[in-house]
Symmetry: C5
Subunit: 342 residues, 5 copies
Amino acid sequence: MPPAGSSPGTLAAPAEASPTVLSVTAYNARAVIEKAGVGIDDIAALRTDGNIVWVDCTGFRDMEPIRALGEMFALHRLALADVVNLQQRAKYEDYGEHAFLLLRMVDAENPTETEQLGLFLGPDFVLTFQERAGDNFRLVRNRLLDAQGQMRKRGGDSLAYALIDAAVDGYFPVLESIDDRLGELEGAILSAQQRTPAIADLHATRRCLLDLRRAAWPLREVASALVRGESPHFSGDVRPYLRDVHDHVVQLLDLLENYRELSSSLLDLHLSLVNHRLNEVMKVLTIIATIFIPLTFIVGVYGMNFECMPETKQWWGYPAVLLLMVTIAAVMLRWFRRRGWL
Amino acid sequence: MPPAGSSPGTLAAPAEASPTVLSVTAYNARAVIEKAGVGIDDIAALRTDGNIVWVDCTGFRDMEPIRALGEMFALHRLALADVVNLQQRAKYEDYGEHAFLLLRMVDAENPTETEQLGLFLGPDFVLTFQERAGDNFRLVRNRLLDAQGQMRKRGGDSLAYALIDAAVDGYFPVLESIDDRLGELEGAILSAQQRTPAIADLHATRRCLLDLRRAAWPLREVASALVRGESPHFSGDVRPYLRDVHDHVVQLLDLLENYRELSSSLLDLHLSLVNHRLNEVMKVLTIIATIFIPLTFIVGVYGMNFECMPETKQWWGYPAVLLLMVTIAAVMLRWFRRRGWL
Amino acid sequence: MPPAGSSPGTLAAPAEASPTVLSVTAYNARAVIEKAGVGIDDIAALRTDGNIVWVDCTGFRDMEPIRALGEMFALHRLALADVVNLQQRAKYEDYGEHAFLLLRMVDAENPTETEQLGLFLGPDFVLTFQERAGDNFRLVRNRLLDAQGQMRKRGGDSLAYALIDAAVDGYFPVLESIDDRLGELEGAILSAQQRTPAIADLHATRRCLLDLRRAAWPLREVASALVRGESPHFSGDVRPYLRDVHDHVVQLLDLLENYRELSSSLLDLHLSLVNHRLNEVMKVLTIIATIFIPLTFIVGVYGMNFECMPETKQWWGYPAVLLLMVTIAAVMLRWFRRRGWL
Amino acid sequence: MPPAGSSPGTLAAPAEASPTVLSVTAYNARAVIEKAGVGIDDIAALRTDGNIVWVDCTGFRDMEPIRALGEMFALHRLALADVVNLQQRAKYEDYGEHAFLLLRMVDAENPTETEQLGLFLGPDFVLTFQERAGDNFRLVRNRLLDAQGQMRKRGGDSLAYALIDAAVDGYFPVLESIDDRLGELEGAILSAQQRTPAIADLHATRRCLLDLRRAAWPLREVASALVRGESPHFSGDVRPYLRDVHDHVVQLLDLLENYRELSSSLLDLHLSLVNHRLNEVMKVLTIIATIFIPLTFIVGVYGMNFECMPETKQWWGYPAVLLLMVTIAAVMLRWFRRRGWL
Amino acid sequence: MPPAGSSPGTLAAPAEASPTVLSVTAYNARAVIEKAGVGIDDIAALRTDGNIVWVDCTGFRDMEPIRALGEMFALHRLALADVVNLQQRAKYEDYGEHAFLLLRMVDAENPTETEQLGLFLGPDFVLTFQERAGDNFRLVRNRLLDAQGQMRKRGGDSLAYALIDAAVDGYFPVLESIDDRLGELEGAILSAQQRTPAIADLHATRRCLLDLRRAAWPLREVASALVRGESPHFSGDVRPYLRDVHDHVVQLLDLLENYRELSSSLLDLHLSLVNHRLNEVMKVLTIIATIFIPLTFIVGVYGMNFECMPETKQWWGYPAVLLLMVTIAAVMLRWFRRRGWL
């Protein structure tokens, strides 16, 4: 984020960004051309009549090609600044000439992290800006390359929908893995040994859920805005499909909420079991100590070296003391049993 | 769920699905025909004028009959894909030609699980798609077979209402069993022994409540949409009955919320009691140890083998030490009593 | 509740219901007739021109008189089924011919439980269906019998208001008793001994609050619907009084919420104090054990029977060891004092 | 509160009410007359043309003067019943002839309690009913008595505003004292000794916050209703000032919420620190016990009186045992250090 | 805050305020004049046609210059009183002649505290009132001084936007430092030693989050009001930029909520780990004590000085007792292993 007070729309390359790479796919109902690692001029050449151009830009290290794209497609400067300003909230805005979507999607390379995706939809172009290189849109690209596929016959809004849908659906495998992890944690917590620090794992999972929720929560507003269909950039045919996206987002949030509550419940379970086991341990200690401490005292008494201890001189002294101690132990055990400790 | 990025409306058989079985019930005011294990052609043959056809499809292993049903009744492809895409959120959608409902109901065979139910209502047909074979709709079928019953005289919307009502009411017996379980848990927690791991049971119950809530929560929106009555597929006569369904859903959610809070309160109770008992145990240990450790030290002193210990040579040494120890024990006991430990 | 899938509007007597008893009060501005334990025919006889008839039905064991009442007053079958279907949510519905209210009120005989009240208001009748016999409406009946009272000069809506008001106000004494109980629990928790299982009492109180909240929460919607005044069955004169009922319901919910938070705070207090006391107990044990265990070890050393222990032969051996032990104890005590344990 | 079922608008003196005292202030742009401890007739005499009359009634022991005021100013009977019915929720109602406000304010004499204030605003009168005698409105009265002040030139709505403003602003000093108390508690909890029962103080503060919140929460609705300005009793000139009152109420609720969260955080801190210290105590005990218990066992072995114990006869026996014990202690200490306990 | 009941709009200098310093920047498309430490007359002189005047007032010790500014620019007295009344809630109000904004921003000198900022926007002036001197607006001032910059060509609303934007963006560096601190705390809690009182640090961070949230929460309403664009003081060109401010505020609140949950999760982690370690400690103690206490008792028995103890006279007595003790220890160890304690 540029420093507070700087001019709005300032393009600032984020720290530790990947190098900027452009690739372009131009298609119409009859043909598809796909080129990776292109320059600005290659894109301009493909932008002819009847073609729909999809430019995919990954990595935000170099601002120059991004600025050039902004000029070529007349993108709004605030929107372009949002694209490279990471940690932004998902949003959808209609700038008249083009629609702008910003959202976070799961990083295909590293599924515990999310990356930012900016998407511009104009009358004859779709631009995607991904924070990191990765293969999030391979299946969509394949559908475009498939000569039998319906997608290349439809407009850019259909491609934009397919990309948004892929971004949203990318969350579900991560949720499944979290579900598995919570299941394992439940097993580890319930099993008696608990040598492994299950609690640190649980914390890591909760933290991951927090991050996902922060990424996914504003998607709901974006999806609602798309479904409400106020944008002229999405045609009526795409509307039911956008409703499908909305349903998936809501399902996603439901699942996240569910896992959050489940992890809370697991934490409670963990705490209860630790307490329960502590109690068990203490009972064992208390029973052993409470029985033997008095007995040890008694044998100590007869270990004293006073010259004048009449009992020690009698033949019945030793068995009498033994008997006394057995009686004390028996009384104690009965008392413990009555208190439910045994 | 098909992989992220695949074409919308893809029919993908879920993992571990039961085999697909179709059964059909065709009825009008005068007659009812019921056939189980039928093929697509049998259904087509029964779809004559004046008949209302109810096709019940259980199990989603084979996509072929499902796709054929979709074609025969002109079902929307997104709706059909939702039907076999498990773990969907309950929803209600009106596709013009037919209304579509998706909801989760309690599995009649295994009441701790829920299964997905898809329902299509058209002018002369009702289609139900159940995730697993089971007897959820036996009573509704019987009412249809009953020659005296009112249902066969009414339209398909009345049948659809009856099926939705049965699906919703199927939750209540499960809630009653949870109520019983919570009552038992409360008894187990309050009773002093607590040998059984009540806390793991409590966690299982909370998990079950979480699952039920996730299944039941979106039902509210569905029921509201039905009551608002924007669909032409439900006639005005059925409206008050749909309001009844809505009331039941709200009651269901109230109960779920109630049990959730009750289980939280039980957990607090459990933790408090465990702490309380730990405290009791520690008090016993502390009292015993605090009294006897100093006494044992004293008898140890007179057990030392120094040649020059004048007290041990006197006749009053032994009784004096015994008296000293009784005094110490009495002082300690009084101090404990004053602190409220006894 | 009838089994899932049965026909809507089925009248099913709840399990363990009290016997059904009808009583009737017919009044106009000049006269009042009151009869208890009447049959259907007695009621029909009193239903003459100018009379307002209040039928009070308690206990739902016999469905016959209830069904007969339904026919006589042309009650909607779903409403009538709701009346005898216990554990329903409070609701208000206008069936054109008559208004229907369902709510839970405190059982006058057993104030820790709630019972269901169904109320029908028609142009010349008020019907009340109480789950259990009891004296909830004695004061209202007395105001009706009072020749000077205003109530008999007004219509049935005024009587219905008085009954609803009495049902709502019946909650307040229960809340006062809960307030007292929480005060006592606070005292018990803060007082040092805590012999009584205050925590189980606290849990019972929380459970009671949960039940009351579940019963009272939907009253808010009912009261709001009444205040909005969409029903033609309540005249404009009664409107300000209904607003008063609404205010009481909101106050009731405020109090319930307040007590709930107070009980949570008490639980926290209890846990903190138990922990605090455990800490105190452990400190005492640790101080005693930490001082005496090393000393006991030292006296044990000189209790060993080695023939060759030079110190034991010297005259200064015994006092030197005593001095050593006093020094150790003093050092330990000082260390404890510095840690703030003493 | 009168018993459930009694006639609406019944005036019932609350238990333990203070004696009823009336005082009156009549003013116009030129003159002010103030009288304390007056009767009904004095008030009637001052109610002449052009005068605005402010009657302040404190204490609700005697219903007679209150009933007389109700008649003289034609107050609505439900409003008048609300005034003396304590523990009511704050509300604002417009009865056509006059506006009615009910709210809770901090008791000037005893700032940890709140008292009820009823306020009626008519075309030429302002009536205030305070639950207890006290000096909440001294500053407002002074502004009225000040010949230079603007207030006496304005209407009764301006006086009503000033009174409401004073009632709301009276909460802030209490919040400041709570802020101070929480600060002290934080210090007490963080300081190591913790001799004083900080936790009971914290509970008392939380309880106080709960009471304040219950009193202040409904003020928001009242203030919103005033700002919306639907009442003809408040002129447009007073509107911006009412908005100021609304802002203060919202700020008040923000602060209350803040202190509530802060007190929760303090409780967590307390619990964590108690646990931390318990852990420390237990470590000390465990280290001491774990080192000395085995050593004490060894010296016990050589304290046995068997005639045939060869080691005890050797000259090297005693030093060898001493060496063995030093070794054991050293190994144990190293093990503790490796576990991070030292 | 002035005492409750004082006249509205009273200007009261807050306690411990910094001295009041005025500085002024007058600009138009061609020139900029900047003066620090000016008097009222200097400002009046710069207020000529075509100029936009920005007066920045820091510190509220002296009321005189503030009152004079209020008169010169005809500010509403309630707004002016709000400016110097600290701890106010953020708000936005349109007084016709000028718009008024009040918000809290991070103090540039001391980033853990917030300070109050009042901002007036009129047709040809912008006034800012900062609670404390500080450099929050240096970058904005520089953009104004930059002859190439766009800002001086635009109106006062553009300057006001830049100031609000700077105030909002000033929160983000503080959030980043909190993120870092939470990360360090997580490390400290997870690392085994935990010598440092991580829990007190965590509490301080939570308290800081609470303060920030209280400051930032009402910004949302302010930003929404600005975006809704009802004010004539902000031109349509500035609208998209205000939407950007709104997005930043929402992102800010998201982050605050996230950190709050993260800190709760850290607290849970801490408590769990402390409990876990306590359990470990207790197990060690219990194992040691449970093995050696019975053995110590046995050796005590044979340390008794009875004359008649037959075993002590036999040659096999000593080895038999040793063997017995080894057996007991072995049995105990096996039992512990079976319970999973070893």
